[in-house]
Symmetry: C2
Subunit: 324 residues, 2 copies
């Protein structure tokens, strides 16, 4: 029988330990900071980044403690970015719950986000691994650059797929890539940003966003949000790229004028009808399925064993495209 | 004759080198980041933190390069905090120029501030000194905590001097203390947060804010801003503490009702008349003069030599209380 400390943690136990670590790192002297920390833990979502980091690390028999701590830090960086995002977008809901900005006000959330980053990086510094610090500060820099780029590209009918790919890499894939790079650091690789695990993280992160972009148009309920949010926020994502590439000039103008309207069933229907007429869903889904196969092939090529199998099982659920 | 690299830099040369280093650290891939970096350099103020760090470090014969780099990083953290502050306060002007938030919009400035912090910390990590990283992340954490605390205390007629002191230490003194702690690190001291140079920084930072709080009521032109801004923003600072301690209950109510009015000459006159009636200026100035003497005595006790003398000369100008 395995010794207790050698046992692989279940996903719910990984999440539980991640949450405890987040609480420990964010403990603050003043009330509002404790409230924001509690909000970050409670509104935690699926914790897909810490789960990926944990099972990836365990595939190489790395120690639980560091994996959980770095996973918590990935979530803290992610949460800080969401807090500021929701101020910027004026969003009132995320994951079917009120946003931090809605609950605590924009001013406190701007400072709260800054405090999250500072607390996370201070804790990380105490862990004494300067490669990890490089990975995290690099990721935060990418996140903010990509968000600024995304903001510049809003409502741009001439947006390109190349720019969109940069935004996805900087904004979403970066933290998955960071998880892979962190594992490479622990494995003693010197070129950790170009390691196989970092590349795996990058693929997974890109697929994660590609799936999100698909679901936004074709199955938003699975994301616990209203459909076509990307469209009405002015983001041009793969479904809309495909549509733009297929419609007539007259129809394109129709789409652009829908951008100026509020989100309602009528304008939604206009877009979805055009998407149906040009078989956008099938086209995007074909690409998405291919990406999914590639990612799972990469995951399957990890060293055989319980961690890899558990990761496959869990991520097949988390990253399913079709409702079951 | 001294060799060129041994020569003490003049204040304007320190500022010039600091600005170049800021530009180098903040170089960004996208246009808006370059604009924000240029804004940070151009709107730079007196660069009192890098000047303090430089002459303090030179008093102990420390190398220029590290002092200038760390000084630039102190300014980057300071600038990031000001960018977010101006979003939070909805401020349109700072140092008689439009704020970043006014020029580039709140959304871009929130992300721009995040990017400044990430770029600064990434550069710092590359310098390979984990003590310096601890000092910087600790300072950012203190800054955000103190600003949240300050926000909670706005328009609080029962605010205490003790809470105000915590806010000043966390918000203003912290970066001067950090400069002192950084010098202690370079001198090889292990208890750098409690070093003599860190304590000197703390005193200087506290005095810097105390002077600011005084000038806000009694000589705001020297700060290049309108008078009584602290009052109309709802901050309770030493002049108002003193006034609250001296007025009748009826007059206190009069002050509180002025809080609800917009800033205009009439309401300003009401407050300044009360200040005059209760000799608030003389009282606050007496305390301020005492702090100033203490700080300059501490500066004079630094090792004798050109760096100390240049610091004294420069800071007597920068921190003068009376117009000359």
């Amino acid at each position: 029988m395995l010794k207790k400390q050698g046992r692989l943690l279940s996903p719910s136990l990984v999440i539980h330990k991640t949450n405890n670590t987040i609480t420990k790192i964010l403990k603050g002297d003043i009330k509002i900071l404790r409230k924001i920390a509690a909000y970050v833990v409670e509104s935690g979502g699926k914790r897909v980044r810490p789960l990926f980091l944990y099972y990836l690390g365990k595939s190489f028999a790395l120690p639980d403690k560091t994996l959980i701590e770095w996973g918590a830090l990935l979530e803290i960086v992610h949460a800080a970015s969401l807090l500021h995002d929701d101020v910027i977008d004026g969003a009132e809901e995320r994951r079917a719950k009120p946003t931090g900005a809605k609950l605590f006000g924009n001013k406190q959330i701007i400072l709260g986000g800054d405090h999250l980053l500072a607390s996370g990086l201070k804790y990380l510094n105490g862990m004494g691994n300067s490669h990890a610090m490089e990975i995290f500060t690099d990721a935060i820099q990418s996140l903010t650059t990509a968000e600024l780029l995304q903001m510049q590209e809003l409502y741009n009918a001439r947006a390109t797929r190349a720019t969109h790919a940069s935004i996805v890499d900087g904004k979403t894939a970066v933290l998955f890539r960071a998880a892979g790079a962190l594992v490479a650091v622990l494995r003693g690789e010197t070129d950790y940003f170009a390691s196989e695990t970092a590349c795996l993280g990058l693929s997974l992160g890109r697929f994660f966003q590609e799936r999100d972009d698909y679901l936004d148009y074709f199955d938003a309920e699975r994301l616990q949000k209203k459909g076509l949010q990307d469209f009405f926020n002015g983001s041009v994502t793969p479904p809309l790229f495909t549509l733009f590439e297929r419609v007539t000039e007259r129809e394109k103008k129709e789409i652009l004028s829908a951008w100026r309207l509020m989100q309602n069933h009528e304008t939604e229907a206009v877009i979805l009808n055009l998407m149906a007429r040009y078989s956008v869903r099938d086209h995007v889904l074909a690409g998405l399925t291919l990406s999914q196969e590639t990612v799972f092939a990469q995951l399957e090529s990890l060293p055989q064993g319980a961690p890899r199998d558990r990761m496959l099982l869990e991520f097949k659920k988390i990253l399913a495209v079709h409702s079951t």
